[in-house]
Amino acid sequence: MVLILLALACLKPTPPVEAGGGRPLLVVNVLDAASDAPAVDAPERFDGAVLDAVSRRKLVPVLLQSEGELAGVQGSRETGPRLLALAPAAAGAPLLLVETRPVYYSELNGQYRWTVGVVLTLQGAATPATRSFDVPVFLQYHHQREADAVDAAAPVVARKVGEVLDGWLGGGG
C-alpha cells in the first residue's frame, strides 16, 4: 500500500507553457449574483487560484479590484461594456476578465448543488479570446452561498484560464 501511495503521489502533471516572459497581465474577477445585488469582486481564494494559473506561465498578474475607479465593471452585466470600462486602466496591456454567475440548483443527495456560469475573456491579441462554460459545484452546508460556490469552482476555472493562456502564449501572444 505504501508503494502504491508513493507511486500515485509522485505522478507529476504536465508543465504549463512558460512563455510569458515576465509580462504583466491585468486580471479582473467578478461575481454576478443572480439577484439584483450589484456585481462584486470574486472571493480571495478564487482570486488566488486564477493568479496562480497566470503566474505559472511566467506572466506577472496584476489584480484589478472592480470597485472604485473601475465602477463601470459593476455598472454593467455584459462583457462588452465591461471591457470598454476597463480599457483606460488596461492602457493597451493584455487583460483577463473572469465573470462568474453562480445560480443555486437544488439540494442533491446531501449536498447543495450550484451551477457557476463562467465567461473568460482574454484581451491580448488582435481578437479577444472568449470561453464560456458552466461548473457544477457542491457545497456541504445550508448557509454557504454565492461566494462559496465561486470558491468551489476555482480549481476548474483556474485550469480553463490556463488553457486559454496556453493557447494565447503558444500562438505567439
Binding site: L5, Y105, P136, H142
Partner: protein, 479 residues
C-alpha cells in the same frame, strides 16, 4: 431515458452516483454492518440519482425579471452488477417534479409547486437528514431568502406518500425559519403538522376497530380470539368507528464555526409524533377482516439528536470529522414485544483524512454504537440463540427473540482515496480502496444468506461469527 431527453432539451443535468464491489468471503452481502448508525461508509449500497433542471425563463443577474424553471429527479438504490436489483428502472422512482418561479409578487421569494422539501442539512458521516420537512408532500411552497434570514412555508397533501395503498387526503403544512448571525453562527427551527380528517363511508379514512389488544394484533389472532369469545358470530365482528388522525414533527438546528481550524459544527434535533396507521387484514377460516389499528399506533414518538464537527487540523494536509447521534423511539401502546418503534440507539463516528498529495489521500474511520430494545430481547448473540426468547430462555409463546436486548457494534475502516478535485473529506468524486472490520455482540450482524435453523436436517450447519471483514473498491460522485 431522462438523460437523453434532458440532453435533447439542453437542460442542466445534475446527479449523484455511488457504486461499489465488496467481495465478501464470510458469507455477507457486501455491507459491513446493518445500517448507517455505524457510519455510512461501507454500510450503504449502490445508489444513483439524476436530476434535470430546465430553465424556462432564466435568472438575469442584476435584474428583478421573473424567472422560472422545471426540476425532475429520478433515483434509486440499484446499479447493474452491484446488487440484486441489477440497475432495473423498476427500482427507480421519479422522486421529485416541481416548478419554481421567482421575482413574482414578492421580492426575494421563490415559489415552488409540485413535490416539496425543506431541510437544514445532512449529517454527512451518517447520511441522515434529521430536519427534513415536507419531503412527503405535494403542494405549494414559498421561500423568502435574504443574506441573513430564510423563511419557508408550505402546504399540501401527504396522503399518497404516507398511505400509498390506502390513500386518503392528509392535509399538511410546515413553517420554518433560519437566521444567520455574522457568518459564524446560525439557528433554525421548524415544524410540520398533519391532519387526516374523518370521512364517513371511506374505508381508507381513519377508523378504529373497538376492542383490539396489542398482543392479539402482533400475534395475528384478533379474529381468532374474538370468535373464541363469540362462537359462531364472526359476522358480528365489531365494525370500525370513524375518527380523525393527527401527527407532527418539530425540528431545530444550530450551526457555528469558521474560526481557524474549526470549519463548522452542526447540531440537529427533531421530535416526531408518528401518524397512526390505517388498516391491516387478518384472515381466519377463509374470512378476511380489516382491522383498523389507528388506536394501537397513535402513541409512537421519535426523538433524534445528531451532531457533526469538521476540523482542518493542518490545512490541505489533515482533516478530521467527529459525529454523534442519539435516538429514542417510544411506542406507548406496545409494552410487550421488541420493535423499531420502541428502542434507544446512540453512536459516535470519527473520520480522519490525510492528504499525501492533493489527489492521494489516506482515510481512517471508526465508530461505536449501542442499540437497546425497550421491550426485551431482540438480538441473537449466539448461533443457538434461536431457542432463546423471553429472558434468554426458550418460550414457545414468547414475543421476544434471542438472548439480549442490547447490540453493541464497533467498526474500523481505512484505505486509499483518490480525489481528482483535491483535498476535502467531502470532496467528490472519490475513488476508494477500503478495508473494513466490524465486531458486534450479535451473531452474524450483517446481511447474509446463512441458514439459521437448528433443525437436525439443516444441511449447511450454523456459524458463530462476531467479527466481519470487507474489502471494498468503490466510487462516489456528485455531478
Amino acid at each position: 431515458m431522462i438523460l437523453l431527453v434532458s440532453l435533447a432539451l439542453a437542460a442542466d443535468v445534475g446527479g449523484y452516483v455511488r457504486v461499489m464491489t465488496r467481495p465478501d468471503l464470510e458469507g455477507g452481502d457486501g455491507r459491513l454492518g446493518y445500517w448507517n448508525l455505524y457510519g455510512r461508509l461501507l454500510n450503504e449500497g449502490p445508489y444513483a440519482a439524476l436530476e434535470l433542471r430546465q430553465d424556462i425563463l432564466d435568472q438575469k443577474p442584476g435584474t428583478l425579471q421573473p424567472w422560472t424553471d422545471v426540476h425532475a429527479k429520478i433515483e434509486g438504490g440499484t446499479v447493474a452488477n452491484a446488487d440484486a436489483g441489477g440497475g432495473s428502472l423498476a427500482w427507480m422512482k421519479l422522486s421529485q417534479v416541481y416548478v419554481q418561479a421567482g421575482n413574482i409578487g414578492l421580492r426575494d421569494v421563490t415559489w415552488r409547486l409540485g413535490t416539496l422539501e425543506q431541510n437544514y442539512g445532512d449529517l454527512g458521516l451518517y447520511d441522515m437528514k434529521p430536519t427534513l420537512l415536507l419531503a412527503d408532500t405535494l403542494g405549494a411552497q414559498g421561500r423568502y431568502r435574504s443574506d441573513r434570514l430564510e423563511i419557508t412555508a408550505g402546504l399540501g397533501d401527504a396522503g399518497w406518500s404516507m398511505k400509498p395503498d390506502q390513500y386518503n387526503t392528509i392535509f399538511t403544512g410546515a413553517l420554518s425559519a433560519r437566521v444567520n448571525l455574522a457568518d459564524h453562527f446560525e439557528v433554525g427551527v421548524g415544524a410540520q403538522g398533519y391532519l387526516e380528517p374523518m370521512v364517513l363511508g371511506n374505508q381508507n379514512a381513519p377508523h378504529t376497530t373497538p376492542g383490539l389488544t396489542y398482543e392479539d394484533w402482533v400475534r395475528g389472532q384478533v379474529v381468532e380470539s374474538w370468535v373464541q369469545d363469540h362462537p359462531g358470530q364472526l359476522s358480528e365482528f365489531p365494525n370500525p368507528e370513524p375518527t380523525g388522525a393527527e401527527s407532527g414533527k418539530a425540528v431545530a438546528y444550530l450551526g457555528g464555526g469558521g474560526f481557524g481550524p474549526w470549519r463548522w459544527s452542526t447540531v440537529y434535533a427533531s421530535y416526531a409524533q408518528l401518524h397512526p396507521r390505517g388498516f391491516v387484514e387478518e384472515t381466519y377460516e377463509g374470512e378476511t377482516v380489516a382491522l383498523y389499528v389507528g388506536g394501537l399506533t397513535d402513541e409512537r414518538t421519535q426523538l433524534f439528536v445528531g451532531t457533526e464537527t469538521q476540523l482542518a487540523l493542518v490545512p490541505d494536509r489533515w482533516d478530521l470529522v467527529l459525529a454523534g447521534l442519539y435516538g429514542d423511539n417510544r411506542d406507548a401502546d406496545n409494552d410487550i414485544t421488541p420493535s423499531d418503534d420502541d428502542r434507544t440507539f446512540m453512536s459516535a463516528v470519527v473520520r480522519t483524512q490525510v492528504y499525501v498529495s492533493p489527489v492521494v489521500h489516506l482515510l481512517v474511520e471508526s465508530s461505536l454504537a449501542e442499540e437497546v430494545s425497550h421491550n426485551g430481547n431482540t438480538y441473537r448473540n449466539h448461533k443457538d440463540s434461536i431457542f432463546a426468547s423471553t429472558d434468554g430462555a426458550a418460550d414457545g409463546d414468547g414475543l421476544e427473540v434471542g438472548d439480549s436486548d442490547t447490540r453493541v457494534t464497533w467498526q474500523g475502516k481505512g484505505g486509499i482515496v483518490l480525489n481528482p478535485l483535491g483535498p476535502g473529506i467531502y470532496t467528490r468524486p472519490s475513488l476508494r480502496l477500503l478495508y473494513g472490520v466490524q465486531y458486534s455482540t450479535q451473531n452474524n450482524a450483517f446481511g447474509n444468506s446463512f441458514v439459521e435453523t437448528l433443525d437436525q436436517y439443516n444441511d449447511f450447519g450454523n456459524v458463530e461469527r462476531h467479527w466481519h471483514n470487507v474489502v471494498a473498491l468503490e466510487t462516489e460522485a456528485w455531478f
